[in-house]
Amino acid sequence: MTDKTFPFLKFHRQLPREVPVPVRVLNYAEIHGDFVNGDAGDQAARCIDCGNPYCSWGCPLHNRIPQWLKLVRDGRIEDAAALMYETNPLPEICGRICPQDRLCEGDCTLQTGFEAVTIGAIERWATDEALRRGWRPVSTAAPTGRRVAVVGAGPAGLAVADRLARAGVAVEVFDRQDEIGGLLTFGIPPFKLDKAVVRTRRDVLEGLGVRFRLATDVGRDVAFSTLLSDYDAVFVGTGAYRHVDAALPGQALAGVHPALPFLVANAKRILYGTDAGLPNLIGRRVVVLGGGDTAMDCVRTAIRMDAESVTCVYRRDEANMPGSRREVKYARDEGVEFRFNRQPLEILGGADGARAVRVVETRLVADAHGRARPEPVPGSEEEIAADVVILSFGFLASPPDWCTDAGIALDAAGKLVVGAEGRLPLQTSHPKVFAGGDAVRGADLVVRAVYDGREAAKSILRALGLVEAAAAA
C-alpha cells in the first residue's frame, strides 16, 4: 500500500558520529567514529538498487556498490568486503579518502531530492569490520614462478602488487620512504586516513606474499637496469611530487612553504616525532593559496597546528572549486575562513618573512572549454594579512631520471606515456615496463591510481602469458 515506508524514506542519510569540532581539532585522529550496531545496515538499506546504478558508473573503479550495499544490509559483512575487494584492492582507503560527493555519492539517484546513500562510510566500515573479524583476501592461484618489481609503494603500486600477488606472481615493491603508502602515508593527514589503516594494509599484502623493500631509492640504492634484468616486468608508480610554480612575487620569502613538503613534514612528525622543516604555526596567521584537496589538507592541518587564523584563498567561486565539497565543509566547521574570487598577485613581506598576500577580486567568465575563467576586477586589490603562506597550486609528475635512461617515453609535461598503439593498456614504450597513477596522469585522485594499478596488473599478466588474451579482453 501507499503508506508503506521505504527505507530511503524512513532512514535519513546518516554518517557515523562526527567528533565535535572542539575535540577533533586537538589531535589528528579521524573525525568520524564507526557505525554503531545496525546503523550501517539501515544506511545500506536506503539503496534502491537502481536498474541504472549511477554510483557504479560514477566510480572510477566501477565498484559493485548496489550489490555490496545489499550484502551489508543483510549483515553479510565478509561477503561484502570480498565483493568490494574484487574491484578495489584498497577499499578501506578509498572509503576514507575518495571524494564520494564528486563520484559515487554525487551520482547516487537519491542525491536528487533525498540524500545520497553513505557509500564511502559503509565501504570504510565494512572493510574495517571484516578485517577486524579476521577476514583476509586470499591468493587464488598457485605460484607461477614469475617476478615483478614495483617502484613506488603508493596507491598504484599497492594495487598492482595486490593483484599480481593473488595471481601467483612474486612481487617486490621498492620505495624510498621507510613506510608504504606514498602520499597515503605522507601526504594525506591522519585525520582523513589513520596511519594504522595503512599499516594493516601492509600486513594484508605481506600476508599475500608481497615483499616490501623500503627506504630503497631506485636509481640510487638499486639501479633501474638491475630491476629490468632481474624481473619479468616492472611497474612504475612514482607519483607527482613536483609542485606547480606560480612564480608569485615574494614566494621566496621566509614563511612561504610549498604544500606537499609541509604535509610530509607534518606526517613524519606525527609518525616519528621529527619536525625537520616544519614551521611552527602556533598563534600565526596562515593563508593557504589554492582550492584543491591538498589545500584543504593544509588548512585543516594548520588548524590542528594551533594557527591563530587560517584563510583559504581561491581565485574562482565555491562552486568551481576542485576540492571536495565535503572537505570544504569540514574545514569551515573547523574554523577556516574562505576567500573566494581572490587571485593572489604577490606575497608581501620582508626579511622577517611574509606579512600579507595581495589579492585582486575576480569574476568568472566562461572560456572556450566551458570552464569558468577568473578575470581580475580592476581596482579591487586588497591585502590579506599572513605570517605563513602555503602554496598549493597543484602538482606535476616527477619522473625519475632513470626513466629516460631506460628509453621510456615521456610527454611534454613529464608524464610517462602508456598504452599507445600496439601496447597493452598501461604499458610504456618499454615493453617490460608498465606505469600508472600520478606518474602517468599528473596529480589525480587516489582512486584513479588504484584503478591504474589494477588494470596494469591485468596487462602484466597478459604480457607474461599468464592470462589468455581472449579472457582478458
Partner: protein, 1483 residues
Amino acid sequence: MQRNTPALYDAAFEHDSCGFGLIAHVGGRASTWLVDQAFAALCKMSHRGGVNADGVTGDGCGILLHRPEAWLRALAADAGIAPTRRFAAGLVFLDPDPAHAAAACATLERCLQEEGASPCGWRDVPVEDAPCGPLGTASRPRIAQIFVDTGADMEAAAFERALFRARRRAEATLAADSRFYVASLSASNIVYKAMAAPGRLRDVFPDLQRADLAASAATFHQRFSTNTLPNWRLAQPFRLLAHNGEINTIRANRTWTASRATKWKSPLVDFSDLGALVGSDGSDSQSLDNMLEVLLAGGIDLLAAMRILIPPAWSAQETIDEDLEAFYEYYALHTEPWDGPAGLVMCDARYAACSLDRNGLRPARWARSDDDHLIVASEAGLWDVPERRIVAKGRLGPGEMLAVDLVEHRLLDAAAIDAVNRARAPFKRWLREGVTYLDSHLIDPALAAEPFPPEMLARFQKQFALTREERDVVLKALAEDEAEATGSMGDDTPIAVMSRQSRPLYEYFRQAFAQVTNPPIDPLRERLVMSLVTQIGREGNVFELSPENARQVLLNSPILSQRKLRQILALPEYAAHQCKLDLYYDEREGLRAAITRLCAQAEEAVRNGAVVLLLSDRYPVPGLLPVHALLATGAVHAHLLKKQLRSDCNILVETGNMRDAHHCACLIGFGATAVYPYLAYQTLFDMNRRGELKGREGEPPHEIGRSYRRGIRKGLLKILSKMGISSIAGYRGAGLFEIVGLDREVVELCFPGTPSRIGGAGFADIEAEYRAQLAAARDPNYALPPGGLMKAVPDGEYHMYNPAVVGALQAAVRTGDAALYRQYAQAVNARAPSALRDLLALVPANAPIPLDDVEAGAKILKRFDSAGMSLGALSPEAHEALATAMNRLGARSNSGEGGEDPARYGTERMSKIKQVASGRFGVTPAYLVNAEVLQIKIAQGAKPGEGGQLPGHKVNALIARLRYAKPGIGLISPPPHHDIYSIEDLAELIYDLREVNPRALISVKLVAHAGVGTIAAGVVKAGADLITISGHDGGTGASPWSSIRYAGVPWELGLAETHQTLVMNGLRGRVILQTDGGLKTGLDVVKAAILGADSFGFGTAPMVALGCKYLRICHLNSCATGVATQNDILRRKHFLGAPEMAENFFRFVAEDVRGILASLGARTLGEIVGRTELLRPLGGVTVKQGRLDLSPLLARAALADGAFSACVPPVRTTGLAERIAADTERAIAEDKSAHFHYAIRSTDRAIGARTAGEIARRYRDAGLGEAALTLEFTGSAGQSFGAWNAPGMRLVLVGEANDGVGKGMAGGRIVVRPPAEARCATQETAIVGNTCLYGATGGEFFAAGRAGERFGVRNSGALAVIEGVGDHGCEYMTGGTVVVLGRTGLNFGAGMTGGFAYVLDVERDFVDRYNHELVDIHRISLEGMENHLQHLRSLLRSHIDATASAWGARLLADFRDVLHKFWLIKPKAASLEALTEELRRAA
C-alpha cells in the same frame, strides 16, 4: 512482390478460424428441409468469415452432406453414369489444363482399381463464377465429380478403407500436381466447398440448388483466414471434420506423427506406402482431418479417435470415473493431444458429432426439435424452428462431445460417449500393472548428500558462465519464492547476436506466443487444464490394444532431481537399455562433426535397444570443449525423428547450463524428455550453506531443490500457456521459438524447421566463444562475472538507456537546448551497433534539399503517439503530464489499460487513445466515447502472451476507483482477452467498439514475432484501422524477468514482415501501420518509416524526459523520481516532470527527422515509407554481426505496382442498430422515458452499444436520469448483446442470446428470458453464451436460463442473477454480485478479489467445483446472516419479476428449505462482517 527476393513472409504462418455447424436427424431421415436449414444457417454466419482484398471473395465455405444418395444418383444419371447398389462419390479439384486434369484423373482411377474399387464415371461439376468474386475465380480449379462402385464382396468399412488408400496413394503419386485435390471421396459423405462470398455457396454450385437434394445430416463451415491468397482446398469441411479454432501444438503433432509412421500398424490397413500420415503443409485443421482419417482407417471409431486426439482436461478432474481416466491416460502414453481452441463438427459413416477443446474456447450451442433434429453451431439462433418445438437446448462445455449415431439412431451425450470409451478395454488394470509413478519426494536428501567441493563448484560455474546476477536474482528467487524474479522496464540490451559479449545460447531463442488467432491459456487462474506429466518408456502402437503398451514410467514434471534421475537410470527395465552420451569433444574434431557423431551414436544406441539416452556435460574432460546441451538435444532429437526412432527412446539431459524456465523450455521444446540441471542445484545448495537464502519466515529453507523445481514448473507452464498449449507433451519437440542470430547450418542440423530469418552465428563462432569462455575460466583472477543483463553494470552488457544516455536526454529536455539534444542523439546514434537498425545505414537517393522544403514539424508530430502506459503503473502526475504534452503537440497519448479519471475527459489532460486490454479496467461507455482511437492491446512488447500486472501496493484509493477494484489488492489482467479467442472474435470486438464509438479509429497492438505479418493481415480483414507492431524491447511496470528477456523479436523484423505481407495481400492501403520499441531519436523514426511505419510510438523516452532515471523498480512502488509510483510523498515531492519536457523531446525528434529528410532529399516523412532502397546493410563490428543477413528486411514490397486495393469496409449489418438510433434519438436528447420493440436475429450484433455510446457522449457514465429507455426484443440476439449498456437503458430480450451479453455493462438493466411458449426447463437450458458481463462495471442482469463459460469474468460492479453457469464463473471478479440459481461448472471464483456470489448447490458438490485459492465459501445461516438472507431473497424476487422464471418462483416458494443449499462465496481477503456491513448500508 518479387518471389526471388528473400523476404520475411512465409506461408507457413497462416492461420484460420471460423464459424461451423452441424444439423442431423437423429432418426436418420433425409430431407431437403435439413439441407435448406444448413444453407440458411451458413448464410447467418457470414460475419464469422473473412473477405478478401477484392471485397467479394470470401475465405471459403463449404458443406458436407451425409448420404444424399438419391441426389447423387440423379446427378450421375444426368451424366450417363449408373452406379451399382453401393457406390461412393467424390468431388475432385483439378488443374484447369485438360491434359493435366486427365492425367490426374487417370492416376486416381488406377489407384482405385488397384485397391479393388471400380470407378464408374466422371462428370464435370458446373460452377458459377460471379459469387466467387475476382480472386476466387482466378484461383478456381476445374471441379469434377467421380463415382466409384464398391468392389466385389467388399463390406462397407472395407470399401471406405479402399477409397482411403486409393486417394492417399493418388495424392502421394501426384504430389507434384499442386492443383490436384480430393475434397472428399466416400460412400457416406460428400463435400462441396468454394472460395465464395460468405453465404453464397449454393449460388456457386447449381448442383446444390436441385430440389432433390436431401440428406440426413450435414456439417457446414465458414472460414476466416489471415491470408488473402485464395486457396480453394483450404475451405472446410475437410473429408471428415470442420474446425473452428487453431491447433497450437501443430508442429509437435506433425513431427511426432511422422516419427511414429513405422510404429503404427493396423491389421486392417497398410499405411506404409501412403506417404506422410499427416500433411505438413496446408492448415492445422487439414492436418487434424488427416489424422482423424488415419485413426478411423486403422480401426478406431470416431468416438474414441476424437477423444484421443482432443481429450478433455481429464487429469485435473478429481471426480472423473477411474476407468474413463485410464482410457485417456492409456492413449496419452502413445499420442499427444492436438491442443488449442477447437470447436469441431464431424461426420463419418456412423456418427455425426461435435466436440470442444478442453478449455471451451469456442462456442458451440445446440438445440433439439420435437421432430428429432439436432443442430449444433457456433451460434444460437441459426435455424428457423419455433421455440415451442424445441425440446432441449444447451451448449457444449469444455472438453465435451455430442454425437448422433446415424446407424443406431440415437443421440449420445458426453456421458454416453464416455461410457462407450471406458468399456473398450481394462485400461485401469493395465495401467496399474504397467505404469511406474515416480512421485515427487518430499525431501531431496541426495542433493544435500553430494555437494560439490567449493573449488569444483567454482570451476563448473566458470565453465558454464554462471553470472552473479543469475545466481543472486534468477536462482535465488526460484528457490526462495518458488517463482521467477520480477522486474520492470524493458530489455534495453542488444539481442544476443548483436552483443559484443558472449551470451548464453538460449538467448538466441525467442519464445513463440499466441496473439489474435489463438488465445494464450491462463496458467494462473485456469491451471486445471494444464499438465506437465512426462512419460519415460517406449511408445507403442496406437492401433494395438494391449497391456504391454502400458509399461511406462510417469513423472509429474520433466524437471528431475538427482534422486529421480538416478531412480530412472536404475529401474530394472532401463538398466540394460540406456546410453550415456558425453557432450565433450576435441577441438580438432570440430563442433559440427562432434554433433553429427553424437547423432550417429544416439541412432546406434537406439537401434541396439536403448530406451534412455542421457546427454551429459556433467563430467568435463580437461582439454576438451563442451557441446552445448541445447545444440546436442536439438540435433539428436531431429536426427532420431528423421530416422523414425524418436518414439522408441527418451532423451534425458544432464546439463550445467540450464538455469531458468526459458532454458528448460528450450531444451524440452527441442526434444528433451526431461532435464536435470545439476549446476543450478549445486549453486543453490552452496548459497544455502552460506546462508544466502531465506525461506518464507526468514529461516534458511530446507527444500531448495523442490522450491527451485516448483519455480521452474511455474515458469514452464507460463511459457506453454503463452502459446495456448496445455500439456507438455504438445510442447515437447515443437520448437516453438523464433531464432534470431544463428546461421542456417546450425538451424538445419540442430533446430530444423524453426524460423531463423536473418542468419547469424555459425558453428565456428559458437566454438570460438566456448574457447574464450574456457580460457576466461582458467584466469585465476576470474570471479563470477557480474552479468549486467538485467541491471546495467559498467563492465557488463551494454544498455541502450545507460546512465550517459539518460543524463544527456534529461539535460536536453530540461534546458530545451538543441545542442544538448544533438549530444544526446550522438550518444545514441553513434553507439556500437546494438539494435538491428544500427546495422542499416541511410543511403540518400536524391540530392539533399533545403530544410525549409521539408514538411513542418507539426505534421511529423501528428505521427507520434505515446505508448500505452497505465495510470497505476505511472503516477497520475506523470500520466497527465504526458497526456498534456501530447495534446499540446497535436499528437496522441495512450491511456494504457488502467482507465482514466473522468475529470480529464474533454480537457488537455485527456488521453486521445483509450486502451482496451484484457483486464477491461474502467472500460465504460464514457471512457470509450472520449477517444479518437480505441486500441485493443493484444500483446505488449515486454511480455507478449501475458496480462499486465499491478502490484497491490500500487493500488491506492484513486487507482482502485478508476479500475473498479479494491485498494491494496494486486491486479493481474488475464493473459487472453476473454472475448478474443480467434480472429473472428477480434472482428467482433472491433465491430462492438465501432458500434459504441463510431467516430473512433480502431487500433490493434501486436508484438513482433515470425508470422506477425500474417496475423496483421487477418487483423486488417477484421476491420482495424491501425496496427501497432511492438518490438520485444517495450517497457513494463512489472513482469517476470524471463518474459522481459525472452519473448518477442525486434520491431525491425516484425514491421518489415508486416509491411511486406500487407502489400503482398493488397491490404496495406487499408491500414495505418505503427511501430514502437526503444525509439529514441529522429534517426530511429526515419529508419522505421523506411521499413514501413506510418506512425511511431514512444514509451520510455518521454518517461525519461519527464524524469524517469531507468531505475527498474517500477514494480516496487518506490520510484524515487515519482514517475512510476503511487506513493504520496514520492509523487508530491519528487516528481519534477513538466509537460514541457516531453514536448521538448518530441519537438527535438521531429526537427531531427526533418533534418534527416532534407539530407535524403525527401519533402515528407510519408514519402519514404517502405522505400527500403534508402537503407543499406552494414557489416557491424563483431564477427557475429557480420554474419547477419538483413536483406530480408529490405526486400522491397511492390508498393508501386498498384497493389493497393480500394478500401473495403468489412461486412457490417447495421440495419437494426440504425433503426434503434433513429427511434431513440429524441428520447436520449431529452432524457425522456421511451419504449420500443423490435425483432432481433443472430446477425444483429452488439445491439445496444450504439445507443449506450450516444448516451455516454451526452451524459457520460451517469447515463440517463430516472426516465428509462426500454428496448424490447424478440428473437435470437447476435453476439455482444447489450455491450457497454449505459445507465437508464433497459434491454429486454425474449428469446436467447449468444456470447458476450452485457460485456462492459456500466449500468441499466439487461433481461433475457425465453418466450412464454418455450418448453425447456430454464435451469437446464442455455440462454446466453460465453463471457457474459466481461468487464462489467455496473448495472443489473437477469437471465432465465444458463450461461456459458466465464460468466462475469472481470465483473467489477454488475449485479447478475442467472440459473446456471459453465466453467470459470466469476473469474477475476473485483466487484458486483452474482447469483447462480443452478449448476456451476469447475473453477468458480478463480482470481476473484472483490464482490461476492450466491450459488445454489443442489448436487452438493460445489466444494469440488470452486477455486480455493482466493475465495472461501459460507453457508447462509438463519442467524447472524440475516442481511445476506434478505439480500438473496430480494434478488430472487427481482429475478422473478424480471424474467417470470418458473424455477425462480419454485425456489422462492421453498426458500426456507433451499436456503441451506446456497453458498455465499467471497474473497478470503474480505471479512464477512465487512460484507454484511456493506449490505446493511446498501439496504
